[in-house]
Symmetry: C2
Subunit: 465 residues, 2 copies
Amino acid sequence: MGTAVKRIILTLCSFFLLSNNLFPQTSPSNSKNNYPAISDTIIRTALTEQTGYEWLKELCDIGPRLSGSEQSMKAIMWAKDKMEKLAIDKVWLQNVMVPKWVRGDVESAQIVSSKKYKGRKLNITAFGGSIATPDEGITAQVIEVKSFDELKKLGDIVKGKIVFYNRAFDNGLVNSFEAYGKAVDQRTTGAIEAAKLGAAASIVRSITSKNDNITHTGVMYYDSLTNKIPHAAIGVQDAEFLSEAIKEEPGLAITIKMNCKKYPDALSYNVIGEITGSEKPEEIIVIGGHFDSWDKGCGAHDDGAPCIQTMEALHLLKKFNIKPKRTIRCVLFINEENGARGGKVYGSFADTAKEKQIAALEADRGAFTPRGFYVTSDSAAINKMQVWLPILNKAHIDWIRPGGSGVDVSFIKNAKALLGFAPDEQRYMDVHHSDNDTFESVHPREMELGTAAITIMAILLSEEL
Amino acid sequence: MGTAVKRIILTLCSFFLLSNNLFPQTSPSNSKNNYPAISDTIIRTALTEQTGYEWLKELCDIGPRLSGSEQSMKAIMWAKDKMEKLAIDKVWLQNVMVPKWVRGDVESAQIVSSKKYKGRKLNITAFGGSIATPDEGITAQVIEVKSFDELKKLGDIVKGKIVFYNRAFDNGLVNSFEAYGKAVDQRTTGAIEAAKLGAAASIVRSITSKNDNITHTGVMYYDSLTNKIPHAAIGVQDAEFLSEAIKEEPGLAITIKMNCKKYPDALSYNVIGEITGSEKPEEIIVIGGHFDSWDKGCGAHDDGAPCIQTMEALHLLKKFNIKPKRTIRCVLFINEENGARGGKVYGSFADTAKEKQIAALEADRGAFTPRGFYVTSDSAAINKMQVWLPILNKAHIDWIRPGGSGVDVSFIKNAKALLGFAPDEQRYMDVHHSDNDTFESVHPREMELGTAAITIMAILLSEEL
């Protein structure tokens, strides 16, 4: 420990001399603003102590954190406790009424009418918000389509059938979020479109970059004008199998059973902790993610680890007694996945509170190796941030680009800048909303380097924006 | 297939109009030089067809490829066959005499003298090139040190002992290659330094970023003036255990047994394939990696997948009938790991051949998500390459920086530029030289995006450097 402290002091000293060259646009007036040295210290500490990675293990041991679930409440109390132990200036819970939907103990799909494949089971999982099937299930012929246009052209044929949306995730796109965006309508509004034509139920090829048979859940919608039908994901390999089987036997029918259920809204919380600004306490820099997850895996990348990265930022600021000019506030928003109620509540709070939201940074793209930040702001602010790149680059931030931030912070009006942390996205859609999203899928160095990037950005936003 | 071709044509057409804006510094004179369109096609094809990833599976099924081994010969013939099937202009083998060292079937370490830990085994693996122990093993007290300075200060105490180098990989460094570089002397020259003081053997904490107990091998050296002693890696967790155990019982002794053996040099080969330049066939752009590996895992990241990325570049050029101005040559160098004989032979060939080596790009940092290229060249050439970044960025190349290329291409004299492909390095040292370096550790999208980056860079080097 003595050696570690000495090393930090040496690092700090060595950068006093260099900083004017390295970062001339914001030449430091005191040691607090010696960004290169502070950054090096933050990076080394995050990578070697791996506090956040240890916290992630604890969080994953609690289980997944679907809004309104018992585990989500345990996780909220765990996070509040962790923040309180940091002895930061303020920790509180913000009441949020969240939707409560519970997956049942029955989820099955089986081919029941087929010469060749009768009895063959399919991996299936209800989408969040789906109604259940009757106890005896829904048995119907399967009709495969790849788009709503194709579905509409089928017209009356769809009546009483199970619509099978089988448009694949496009692995040809470099940006996996773009590929996700081009497939996700099948999940979000697929039940509505199928029900409009009288379908009995609908199933969707899992939206994932990975060629496995794990099901990927996610939010789905009904509308008030259309009949509600059960809506579920099946594994990619089963989708490919089913598609071939239907070609062989067009009359093939399956039975699906699900006993998921919607309950009345439940009381839940945003968890908030802050280090109060030393000069401008009423000016707020928000950093955070969404603390709820789907009920698959443990929501490690989505969005447990990123939430912890922002909690760990407070830990690092506190550890090195960094006193930001503005208030740096970590907000763990509840219910992004199926309602964004936490984001909305915080947005309303921000509207009325006697304080000014200067910038808000959301981390909701996994905890992979850092690459950049997307920023929604005017070009002057973005240009200013790009001047910080030599510092941020120490934590592998290679770019700052105009772009979207995150669902939760988008409810904060009038902030000078909204930011989205952008780690590398090549592996994200392998794990997203599925049992693949485990503690083991997070790499400690990748996660901790992300923590460092977020911490450094938070400091710069506080001191320089 | 029809749809795929149509899509490619559409993509190509749509970029005709855009390319002058997107890439004004090298405005295309014909479709061949419409880099944005060509790049998009290459990226999409690599990501969707994943030809290289499939090849990697085949290569890994052959086994690891230590120089002089039967598997290395099988792999060489496999690669030659693959290249020949591409129907490129020329495929040949270049004779290389390589050292042959074979790990034995005995590798063990056990605590033999200890009240508390007698009988406890340690994960051990000989470093490449180590001599064997006598059949009955070497039994001696263990002396822990963290540096050669510390060792030298011990002086006579070392005589007859087993030196235990236990300086940890520094996870506090962002660049894992830098951390590796700061620990690797224990492996490379540790036996020499220990033997100078009369040690009976030496063992080294595995050089890895991962906290597991897998042993990591690698090259080691003897010198002609110093006695040869057995030299081996132990797992990180066993190293930590052993360090604690020695503190409890300073007299603790272990027995190590290894029956590895050195054989006479063996005939092996560089595998070379090329697409001859349409305008300047005598001007050569080399792309390649080293085809040998250590005898642990299957050498997937080191350096199987990167070799395949450069083979796949030829496949993609051929598939889209791209006729480069200069010759693009893939060289799979043999024996980088323990001799660099392949690199030396190719270097000598380049000295005397009636052709001019313009640039050489080595891929030997794993097949993780692409980040940049290091370039050894004059600043004019580097500046020129940086102008290409808008194109390369399509495949997630964010930077081109002055820096080292690779061991093998460093033997090519007088080339205008030597380049090193730089994927993200956070996970590399988890797998390097160990049983962790498996097919499963390579992610298909990360690998194929790297293939695209290398292919695009090869085209640009051929046409624009």
